[in-house]
């Protein structure tokens, strides 16, 4: 279900992907997702929006190799994604996943050190990533001394040092206040431009999706399927000031038109199964 003028090389692909959670004893299995077809083009910024519980996070975890699909296939850079997270995919989660027992610096260095990178390289990459995320002054601080937005930056820095070519963001700003979210949006755009990585952002905020993305997939209530894919046609150089453009309102309007009914549906059975 990609757009008709899908140019560019396919970076990751989901084909007929479904996910059905086996029900607990005496309960119906939960059909959480799909079937879903999706082609991510190399270097694009793609957002997925949808009502809560529609399987957005499941979609992301399947793409990351954190969950296996019930049916369908996933490929990343031409290779099938199976039970493991492929090299080159970085994930930032909604929950605060910074490690409280490590300093900001050690948190950022965590992945590279476990991979056995030489200390000089670790040092260079970490300093670079911390500077990029505006964390250099907090290198020796512990996460408990930082705000939620700063901790999320720590998690982004930890992912960044591994130089991912596909960055998956699972509602990374969901727990932050509205102003911080706008600013974090700018950070993510900056990150996207500098790394030239492909970005997939899961969000429930239509304005966030409209402001950041090249394309936005609107998902239906559970079982989640793509109902519409909107192209924003923003320039690559953009930031949060885009929210005052007239076409910004048109995009969010079109998304809401699609999602309104679905959100009402999902209210009816919210909390009835895994998100």
């Amino acid at each position: 279900m990609t757009g008709p003028d899908s140019g560019g090389e396919v970076h990751a692909r989901l084909l007929g992907v479904t996910r059905i959670f086996p029900g607990a004893t005496g309960q119906q299995p939960v059909h959480a997702l799909g079937p879903v077809d999706l082609e991510l083009r190399r270097g694009e910024f793609f957002a997925v929006v949808g009502p809560s519980g529609c399987g957005k996070s499941t979609l992301l975890e399947i793409l990351a190799g954190l969950q296996s699909p019930t049916s369908g296939t996933v490929t990343f850079e031409g290779q099938p994604v199976t039970a493991d997270v492929p090299d080159g995919i970085g994930v930032v989660f909604q929950e605060d996943a910074s490690f409280p027992w490590l300093t900001v610096w050690d948190n950022a260095a965590f992945g590279l050190r476990r991979a056995g990178a030489p200390e000089a390289e670790v040092s260079r990459s970490v300093n670079d990533a911390l500077a990029f995320m505006g964390l250099q002054d907090f290198a020796r601080a512990y996460p408990s001394q930082l705000s939620g937005g700063m901790r999320q930056r720590v998690c982004i820095a930890r992912t960044l040092v591994l130089q991912p070519r596909l960055i998956l963001l699972d509602e990374p700003f969901g727990a932050l206040d509205a102003q911080t979210r706008l600013l974090m949006g700018d950070e993510v755009l900056r990150l996207w431009r500098r790394t030239s990585a492909t970005v997939l952002l899961i969000t429930h905020a239509l304005d966030e999706a409209a402001m950041l993305s090249d394309r936005i997939g609107a998902m239906s209530a559970r079982p989640g399927r793509f109902m519409d894919i909107v192209e924003t046609r923003w320039p690559r150089e953009r930031d949060s000031t885009i929210v005052s453009e007239t076409s910004f309102g048109e995009i969010t309007g079109r998304l809401w038109e699609n999602l309104r009914g679905e959100s009402i549906k999902s209210l009816g059975h919210s909390g009835a199964g895994p998100a």
Partner: protein, 247 residues
């Protein structure tokens, strides 16, 4: 600054305790409760004696064995119940029930199984200590945020790296809290065992002094135990706070 404040606070508490002690002494008389001065004088006489050393060593030996067993078994049970869902579901209510009953009611059973010697004391002390260590270790493992496992997988950690670099530090503060509580109740268990059925150890000294109406000796031994327990507890608490400050 904070350190001096703490020392001052502790000194104030000690002063208040001494004042209350002296006041009680004046109320009930020397036979029931000797005053601080008389007790300290007796302490200077008892502590260097061979009799005290012998009994203190007996308690220390029993306590050390009991603590090693309590920590070893407690951690093993805690890890098993925390990591294995079904075992945890079955084991937790059993542990909680055991934790809440007064263990002294089981002492006759322990005596019959292990006898009057050191093994009975060790078993009774360990029985006290295993439960909090196991319960808090289990809860520490269950409280690991699931997202840590996802992060470990996305950062390509091996199974052992995940255990040692993520799960171990994530559970450490709560596990240390369990070890601290386990320390205190193991000591309690050993002393109780010595009081009820033993001819050696500090618990025996206390109960023996009581039956001979030697209240100075009784109080002196109690104070030595008090000081030991407070020092050990403070050390473990300090470790715990250091770990928690980061969380």
């Amino acid at each position: 600054m904070i350190a001096t404040q703490r020392v001052t606070d502790s000194l104030i508490i000690v002063a208040i305790l001494l004042a209350v002690w002296q006041g009680l002494n004046l109320m009930v008389g020397d036979t029931a409760l000797p005053g601080p001065a008389a007790t300290l004088a007796y302490l200077a006489h008892l502590v260097p004696s061979a009799r005290f050393a012998e009994n203190a060593l007996a308690t220390l030996a029993a306590f050390t064995y009991a603590l090693v067993i309590a920590y070893g078994l407690g951690l093993a049970i805690g890890v098993w119940l925390g990591a294995h869902h079904l075992s945890g579901a079955v084991g937790e209510p059993l542990l909680v029930a055991l934790y809440s009953i007064p263990k002294i009611t089981l002492y006759p059973v322990i005596l019959l199984i292990f006898g009057l010697g050191i093994s009975g004391k060790v078993a009774f002390g360990a029985l006290h200590g295993i439960l909090p260590v196991a319960l808090l270790t289990m809860s520490a493992i269950r409280n690991i945020p699931p997202v840590y496992l996802k992060v470990a997988r996305t950062l390509h950690l091996s199974k052992w790296q995940t255990i040692f670099a993520v799960f171990f530090p994530a559970t450490l503060p709560e596990v240390v809290a369990g070890l601290r509580i386990g320390f205190t109740v193991t000591l309690l268990g050993v002393l109780l065992a010595e009081m009820f059925a033993s001819k050696r150890g500090l618990g025996f000294l206390i109960i023996n002094a009581m039956s001979l109406a030697q209240s100075e000796e009784m109080l002196t031994v109690a104070i030595m135990l008090f000081v030991f327990a407070v020092l050990a507890n403070s050390l473990l608490l300090w470790m715990e706070h250091r770990l928690h400050r980061r969380n």
